[in-house]
Structures are given as structure tokens and as C-alpha cells.
């Protein structure tokens, strides 16, 4: 197991290099540069001075090597958008905000979704099943920014109960977490319901029932355990998405998190930020898939990560 994890981590490093190279080439291929702002054409000398100030006057391969050399040492440069901060400092100050919204979102979405999905599955075709299915469809189809806008209009503008946005007190958590958790909760609920129903209809559950096992034991020992495998495969990788924030949620509720930077960095051609964020996402995904693979072995004794036969 240890060797397997080490091997996977090493391969992740190669993946990161490949991702960084692709991202680097792509962002330089997009027309416009970080300094094409303003109303008129800048004097050529100023354009050159701006490029030189941020090392963009060097050949592209040199820029890449230089960037990666510094990145390996933990220096990701200065974001063009925030000349008073460093990329690492900016991520260190904004990511915790995003995570602070992301963790309650994950808890509500996954616990709430699992409970709702289980209730719906065990009471199939009852009113509660229809309710969960309908809400699940709504949650998935109504975008978070629509929910967010309505929450602000009703709770802030109309009723004056909560601030429209911002950051600092517990009040600032309520609306973003609601708006952010609805879609993943719906996804979890629907998927939980689906996998549970499929598992309940399987032969081994029927066999267990025929053996006279109690419903509780069947549910815990057979259904949940087996349903967990597709559940983990599909739903775990959603977590990095939530933990890196949403531009819509952060923009609507004016949350100083990291999510907005995924978009503003691209718009303002903030090359150091684009690269750092791409690497961050790639790392998170890599680690999440590794965890998912390890979880398989826990959930399904037939799965072995290295060597040997299943059995």
C-alpha cells in the first residue's frame, strides 16, 4: 500500500509538470496581455517596460523554466492583479475563506443528501420519494446564482434580515451555504437513491433476505456497503470543486474567497495566478482520486491496489 501511494504521488508530480506546461502555453496563446488596459495605445517604451517588469520580455521557454524553477522553491511570483501581495500569500489568505464556506456546504450537502436519498430509496414511490426526486431535479436545474439572487432579494433587500454580502460574521455564512449546497445536495440525494435502489434489487440482497437476515443487518451490511462504491466514485470528486469555490457564489455574496480568482485571473491575464491555481486544482484532483482508489480497497475486499489476485 505504501509503495502504491508513493508511486501515485510520484506520477502526480509528472502530471503537474504536464498540466503546468499546457496551461502556460494556452494562456500565452490567448490574445491580449496583462497590460492591454486603458483607453489609448501605450507608448512602445512603456509596453516594453511593463513586459520587462514582470519578466515577460524573455523568450517563452525561458519564462517557463524560470517560473517552474521558482515554483519548485515555493515562489509563485506576484499576482499582476495584486501587486501588494504574493501568489502564495494571496492563496493563503483567500482559500481559507472559500474552505470556510465549502466545509459546511459539504457537510450539509453530503449528510443531508444521503439522508434524503436513503429515505426516498427505502420508501420508494411514496410521497416522500416523489418530493425528494422533485426537489432533487429542482436543485440540479436551478443554478446557484439564481438561488443566491433570490435569497439576497428576499432576505436582505425585502426583509432586511441579513447583509447582502461581505465577510466577517456568522450572518455572512447563511445565504452562501444555502445557495451553494443545494445543487450538490440534490446530486447526492438523487445518486444515493439510485444506487441504493439498484443494490436493493440485487441478487445477493435477495439471498440475504431469503437467509432470513434482519432488514437492519441487510441494510447496513449489504446494501450500504455495496452502494458506497459507485457513490464514492461519483460523489467524492465533487469535493475539490466545492473546496475551490464558485465564482457565482463569491461574486453574488461578495465573499473574498479564491473562487473569483479563477475567472478574474484569466480575464486580466494574470499569468502567475492562472498557473498557481491550475496547479492547485490539479493537485487536489490528483489527491482526491488517490483517496478514492484507496477507499475502494476498504469498501470492496476484492480490490487490491498492487499485485495479487482479487479474491
Amino acid at each position: 500500500m505504501g509503495r502504491y501511494i508513493l508511486g501515485r504521488l510520484l506520477s502526480l508530480i509528472f502530471v503537474l509538470f504536464a498540466v503546468s506546461l499546457i496551461a502556460f502555453l494556452l494562456m500565452h496563446a490567448v490574445p491580449g496581455g496583462p497590460f492591454d488596459i486603458g483607453e489609448r495605445r501605450l507608448p512602445e517604451a512603456t509596453r516594453q517596460a511593463q513586459l520587462a517588469k514582470y519578466g515577460l520580455d524573455k523568450p517563452i521557454y525561458e519564462q517557463y523554466v524560470r517560473y517552474m524553477w521558482h515554483a519548485i522553491q515555493g515562489d509563485f511570483g506576484v499576482p499582476f492583479q495584486r501587486p501588494t501581495e504574493t501568489v502564495t500569500g494571496l492563496i493563503a489568505s483567500r482559500w481559507p475563506v472559500t474552505i470556510a464556506i465549502g466545509i459546511p456546504t459539504i457537510l450539509i450537502a453530503y449528510i443531508g443528501g444521503t439522508v434524503l436519498g436513503t429515505i426516498a430509496a427505502t420508501r420508494q414511490n411514496s410521497w416522500i420519494d416523489y418530493l425528494v426526486t422533485t426537489l432533487g431535479t429542482l436543485g440540479l436545474t436551478v443554478p446557484s446564482w439564481v438561488v443566491g439572487t433570490w435569497l439576497v432579494l428576499i432576505l436582505s433587500v425585502r426583509w432586511d434580515l441579513l447583509p447582502t454580502g461581505g465577510w466577517g460574521s456568522w450572518k455572512h455564512y447563511i445565504m452562501p451555504v444555502i445557495a451553494y449546497s443545494l445543487a450538490p445536495m440534490a446530486l447526492v440525494a438523487r445518486y444515493t437513491r439510485l444506487t441504493l435502489i439498484e443494490t436493493m434489487r440485487s441478487d445477493y440482497v435477495r439471498t440475504a433476505r431469503a437467509k432470513g437476515l434482519g432488514e437492519r443487518r441487510i441494510m447496513l451490511g449489504h446494501i450500504f456497503r455495496n452502494a458506497a462504491i459507485p457513490w464514492v466514485t461519483v460523489l467524492l470528486p465533487e469535493i475539490p470543486n466545492i473546496l475551490t469555490g464558485s465564482i457565482f457564489i463569491e461574486a453574488i455574496f461578495n465573499i473574498p474567497g479564491l473562487g473569483s480568482y479563477f475567472v478574474t485571473s484569466t480575464i486580466s491575464r494574470d499569468y502567475p495566478m492562472i498557473l498557481a491555481l491550475t496547479l492547485l486544482i490539479a493537485t487536489l484532483w490528483g489527491v482526491t482520486y488517490l483517496i478514492t482508489d484507496i477507499l475502494y480497497t476498504v469498501l470492496d475486499p476484492r480490490v487490491r491496489l498492487v499485485g495479487g489476485r482479487a479474491g
Binding site: L42, V157, A251, I252
Partner: protein
């Protein structure tokens, strides 16, 4: 015309600039009930004290002005660090005084400079700096602060995004930018004593005082001790303006508080200014929730919501902004735009009045030329016929150019720069008008500002057809007309126009004659149709009823709004705006 406000006081509404039908939404509430502005000579603390005594203003502790700005562009605060990425939409440029400032009638007033004069040849300009001004670190404000600031701005280290502004005006500016000579050789130097600042220009520059609106100095001592970013951190902030930085949490908030060391002539009336850094899409929600006091350029939907209710309609104002003109431009160096007849045909195919009535409303007035009403050398009446709406003439010109009924005319892409919802709507209407009159298909394509400006200013330009705006930087015709000089923003080049604009700009004689020269230059521009002038933006603003003071009284043209350049030391607004009763607790 009388209007009932939220507190059921009679408020006089007037706006001579607009037709009666729109008065309901373009009101200019005069704070008639306050009756304190007879003492217009009073300023700052004295006026504030009097206001408080008369019960009109809130107690000093609640003189908190809250504004919003785009979190993404609030990168620095000082002008000489970045002209385009500072919180200019809300409040900036409060940490020092420019040499001159504007009042709401766009008259040039002395600010840090008490007076100025020029040599007979108009090449040397001497500004006498007001003695007694001080930085919050105890240093006096002297001519050397401006010299250090301009030298920093021209240096490669600064790579300032506004260097083009002084290019062609200040002596040795271009040479220093290119590194051919040292920064100490630019035409900005200390004169006979510490309080005399001398500017030398490339050519006679009667517009220089107006141009030096953008002259808020950095502290020479601060620059030397902490580097250019000293005003981004309260610990190192230095101010000679009425406010100083108290807090800056990027992506959240900037707070300015009173600078107790301020010794100038324009102490602000409010005690604290808070800037909520957010996404511009949120401004209207914040405004509706009373979390900000002012916003401008709302979406058409937000404007419609405000217009629906009589109380909120009274909060809608329509100003002059930076006298912008919105225009369709062509790359005249390439087919089919190289044919004047084609360009003329387009200019006669746009029904501006219909656009104004059906889409623009308080957002703009029809344009037939470049310089907006109220801007010096404006000549709307004299030039109106050249590009007037005339569909039959448009069709015959297009036929003469070889495209009868638009046959054979290639489908066009009209490029928009990071368009607002209003600009998109206008562009769609323009495309429909062209289709209806000339039978030419137009596809509207929006592009982000960075990519757009790179493509537009590339040589040769990569944008064949576009729709965009330009607004003044300073109140002189050269500020607007120089956009069309050869080698600038657009590919159109007319040596006669260049000569005419420069001759007018440099004209040292009677100012009235100088204006006439500009009018002749503008006629050449309009006649050659490098652009179809569509409308002059009249910036829509929402102003909460508790923002009171002289600033909201109509200007000499009868227009009431928060005038350009808004809450900054380049304007008299900080001395004219206070928080009256009715404001929420802050």
C-alpha cells in the same frame, strides 16, 4: 415642477437640459429646506459646524460615506501608480492635492497651486505652490514632491499605464521613456525656490493647466523610504490630502479617515469614506439595501426598477459624466470601409432620435459629432446635417459605392469592448437599423477589454468594425480630438486634421479664436466619417436622498448630478457633500 420626496417635503425639481417628459426621473432635488447654502463661502469644518448647528447634517460621528468599487480593478490607490486600476469609480485621489481642480461648472480652480503663468512662447509654465501644505509625516509639500513623482512615473520601474497622457506635451518625456536620457531631464523641475514648480513643454501648451488636473503628487519622502506602494498599507500611508488610508482589506473594503495634518483649502465634509469592494453586478443590490449611498451606470433593468416607484425615481439623476461619445468606427485602410461613400451611407442609416427615445432614455442624447453638448468647442448644431439620418441618401450612397440594396456587401462583425447591458442593447438596435436601411447583416461580438484593446491598437489594427466610447480626460477640446490623431487609437489618418488639431491646441491667442480652430478640425473629422457618432452618454446615477450639499444643486447648464471626476481632490465635491438626516446607522 414640484415633487414629493420620501419625507413629504416639497422639493423643487428642475432640469433644463432635458425634455419635460423625462423630468420625473431626471430630477434635481435642491435641498431647499436646508437653507444653509447661502454661506457658500464657508468651507470645511466651519460649514460642517454650521450645518450641525442648524440640524441639517447628522452628528459628525455618522458622517460616513459608503461607496462601492470593483474589487477586481482596485489594485492600487494612487494615480501615479495606475490610472486605470485604482478605485476611481468610488473615491480615490484624496491623499494629496493636484495643482488645479474643477468645480461643477468645469471651471479650473487653484488647488495646490495658488497661481500659474507661462512664458510668452507658451513653452514654460510656472506654478506657485501654496506654502503651508504638509504631509502627514511632518514634511512640507514642496515642488520637489511633483518632480520626484513625475520622474518616478516616467521611469521604466514604474511602467506607468498612463504615460501616453503626457507624451507629446512634456519636454523630454518620450526620450526619457525610451531611456535615451535620464528621468531628471524631463520638463518638470523645481523653479527659483522650493515652492515654484516649472513645466516645460514640447510645443506651446495653453491646455497644460487643464491637463494638470492629473497631478496629485506622491510624497517624495514616502517614495524614497517605502517605495511606490506606501499608500497601500495604513502603516506606511502618507497623505497631504484631507483623508488618509485607515484600512485596506483587498477584495473587501477600503476605509479613508480624516487626515488631521491636512492644511489645504478643501477639508472634506464627511469624516469617513468606506469603499465596499465587490463585483459591479452587485452595486444595485447594495444600493437597494441602503448599504451604499451612490452608484452610476445602472443596467437598463435596474433603471426600470427605480423608475417604477415615485420615491426611488426621485433618486435618479442624469449627469454629463466625462462627456463621452459612443461611436461606430471603421478600419478605413481596408475594404469596404476605405470607400467614403460606404461610411457616409452608414452614417445616414442610424436613426439617433429613435434610439434616444426607445432605448437610451436618460442614458444619452443623440450625437452627430464628436464633442458633446456642454464640452468646449461643441458644435452639434453646426455639424448636425453631415451625418444626419436620411435613409434614402444612405441607400443611394451605398448603391453608388457598388452595393445596391446591400448586394455583395460582406456580412460584418461589429466588435464591442466588454460591453455593458446597455451597450449591447444599443449595438443590437444599430445592427437592426443598418439591416433595415442598407440590408447589411451585422453580427455583434463582445470581447474582454484586454483582448479588445490589444486588437484595436495593433498596427495594422485587427478590428475592422467596432462600437465603443471615449470620454474626456481634461476639459479642453484637445483631450477629445487627439484620440483621432494619426497613429493613435484608430487607423484613420488625415494629415490636415492632425495639423488643424495641433495648431488649435498650441494656439496662444484669444481663447475664443482657439475654440473656432477646434471647431474647424472637428468638421474635418465628421465629414471624413472615420466613425458614425451615435450618442453622447449622459451618465445615469442613483443618489440616496441623504447625500446632501451644494454638489447636488444644478450647474450653470441646469444639470444636477455628481459631476466628473466625482469624489476626489480633482473636484470640489469633497467640500460640498455631507450626510443628512435619514441615513442609516453606519
Amino acid at each position: 415642477m414640484f415633487h414629493r420626496d420620501r419625507n413629504q417635503k416639497n422639493i423643487f425639481v428642475t432640469n433644463a437640459h432635458y425634455p419635460i417628459s423625462r423630468r420625473a426621473v431626471l430630477g434635481a432635488p435642491v435641498a431647499a429646506g436646508l437653507g444653509v447654502f447661502g454661506s457658500a463661502m464657508l468651507r470645511g469644518d466651519a460649514l460642517a459646524a454650521q450645518l450641525l448647528q442648524e440640524g441639517a447634517a447628522k452628528p459628525a460621528a455618522q458622517q460616513v460615506l459608503v461607496l462601492a468599487d470593483d474589487a477586481a480593478t482596485a489594485k492600487v490607490i494612487d494615480l501615479f501608480l495606475s490610472a486605470y486600476e485604482r478605485p476611481v469609480a468610488a473615491a480615490s485621489d484624496l491623499f494629496s492635492e493636484p495643482l488645479v481642480r474643477l468645480n461643477k461648472d468645469f471651471e479650473l480652480l487653484p488647488a495646490a497651486a495658488e497661481s500659474w503663468s507661462s512664458s510668452e512662447d507658451g513653452l514654460t509654465w510656472t506654478f506657485e505652490i501654496r506654502e503651508g501644505l504638509a504631509w502627514s509625516d511632518g514634511n512640507p509639500v514642496t515642488a520637489n514632491d511633483w518632480v520626484a513623482t513625475f520622474q518616478y512615473a516616467v521611469s521604466p520601474e514604474a511602467a506607468w499605464d498612463f504615460t501616453w497622457y503626457f507624451q507629446g506635451t512634456l519636454k523630454n518625456w518620450a526620450e526619457a521613456l525610451e531611456g535615451a536620457i535620464g528621468v531628471e531631464e524631463i520638463g518638470v523641475r523645481v523653479g527659483a525656490n522650493d515652492y515654484e514648480l516649472v513645466f516645460e513643454t514640447v510645443a506651446p501648451a495653453p491646455y497644460l493647466p487643464a491637463m494638470l488636473l492629473y497631478s496629485l503628487p506622491l510624497s517624495a519622502a514616502g517614495l524614497a523610504a517605502h517605495g511606490p506602494l506606501y499608500n497601500t498599507n495604513p502603516a506606511t500611508a502618507i497623505s497631504s490630502g484631507p483623508y488618509i488610508l485607515a484600512e485596506w482589506i483587498p477584495d473587501q473594503r477600503i476605509t479613508y479617515v480624516r487626515n488631521d495634518h491636512y492644511a489645504g483649502t478643501l477639508p472634506g465634509l464627511v469624516d469617513e469614506i468606506r469603499i465596499e469592494l465587490t463585483n459591479p453586478d452587485n452595486y444595485f443590490t447594495l444600493y437597494q439595501a441602503d448599504e451604499i449611498d451612490f452608484m452610476r451606470n445602472p443596467t437598463p433593468a435596474a433603471l426600470a426598477i427605480m423608475q417604477r416607484d415615485e420615491t426611488t425615481a426621485a433618486e435618479i439623476y442624469s449627469g454629463v459624466g466625462d462627456f463621452p461619445t459612443y461611436y461606430i468606427f471603421f478600419d478605413v485602410t481596408a475594404e469596404p470601409w476605405s470607400d467614403l461613400k460606404v461610411r457616409q451611407a452608414w452614417s445616414h442609416a442610424i436613426d439617433r432620435d429613435a434610439l434616444e427615445q426607445s432605448i437610451l432614455g436618460p442614458n444619452g442624447v443623440s450625437a452627430y459629432s464628436w464633442l458633446a453638448p456642454g464640452f468646449p468647442a461643441n458644435n452639434t448644431e453646426g455639424l448636425k446635417e453631415i451625418q444626419a439620418f436620411d435613409p434614402e441618401l444612405a441607400q443611394s450612397l451605398l448603391a453608388d459605392a457598388g452595393y445596391p440594396n446591400g448586394d455583395g456587401f460582406p456580412t460584418q462583425q461589429m466588435m464591442l469592448r466588454s460591453p455593458s447591458p446597455l451597450e449591447e442593447t444599443v449595438a443590437q438596435a444599430l445592427a437592426a437599423m443598418i439591416k433595415e436601411t442598407l440590408n447589411i447583416d451585422i453580427e455583434i461580438v463582445g470581447q474582454d477589454a484586454q483582448g479588445y484593446m490589444a486588437a484595436l491598437t495593433a498596427k495594422p489594427t485587427e478590428i475592422s468594425l467596432g462600437f465603443m466610447r471615449y470620454g474626456m480626460d481634461f476639459f479642453d477640446p484637445v483631450s477629445m480630438l487627439s484620440v483621432w490623431l494619426s497613429g493613435g487609437r484608430h487607423s484613420w489618418s488625415n494629415p490636415d486634421f492632425d495639423t488643424a488639431v495641433l495648431a488649435a491646441a498650441e494656439y496662444l491667442g484669444d481663447p475664443a479664436e482657439r475654440i473656432e480652430l477646434f471647431k474647424e478640425a472637428e468638421r474635418m473629422l465628421v465629414e471624413d466619417v472615420p466613425a458614425v457618432f451615435v450618442y453622447h452618454g449622459t451618465e445615469v446615477q442613483f443618489i440616496k436622498p441623504w447625500l446632501a450639499g451644494e454638489f447636488i444643486e444644478p450647474d450653470k447648464n441646469g444639470i444636477a448630478a455628481l459631476h466628473f471626476p466625482v469624489f476626489t481632490m480633482m473636484s470640489t465635491v469633497p467640500g460640498e457633500l455631507f450626510i443628512a438626516e435619514g441615513a442609516p446607522e453606519r
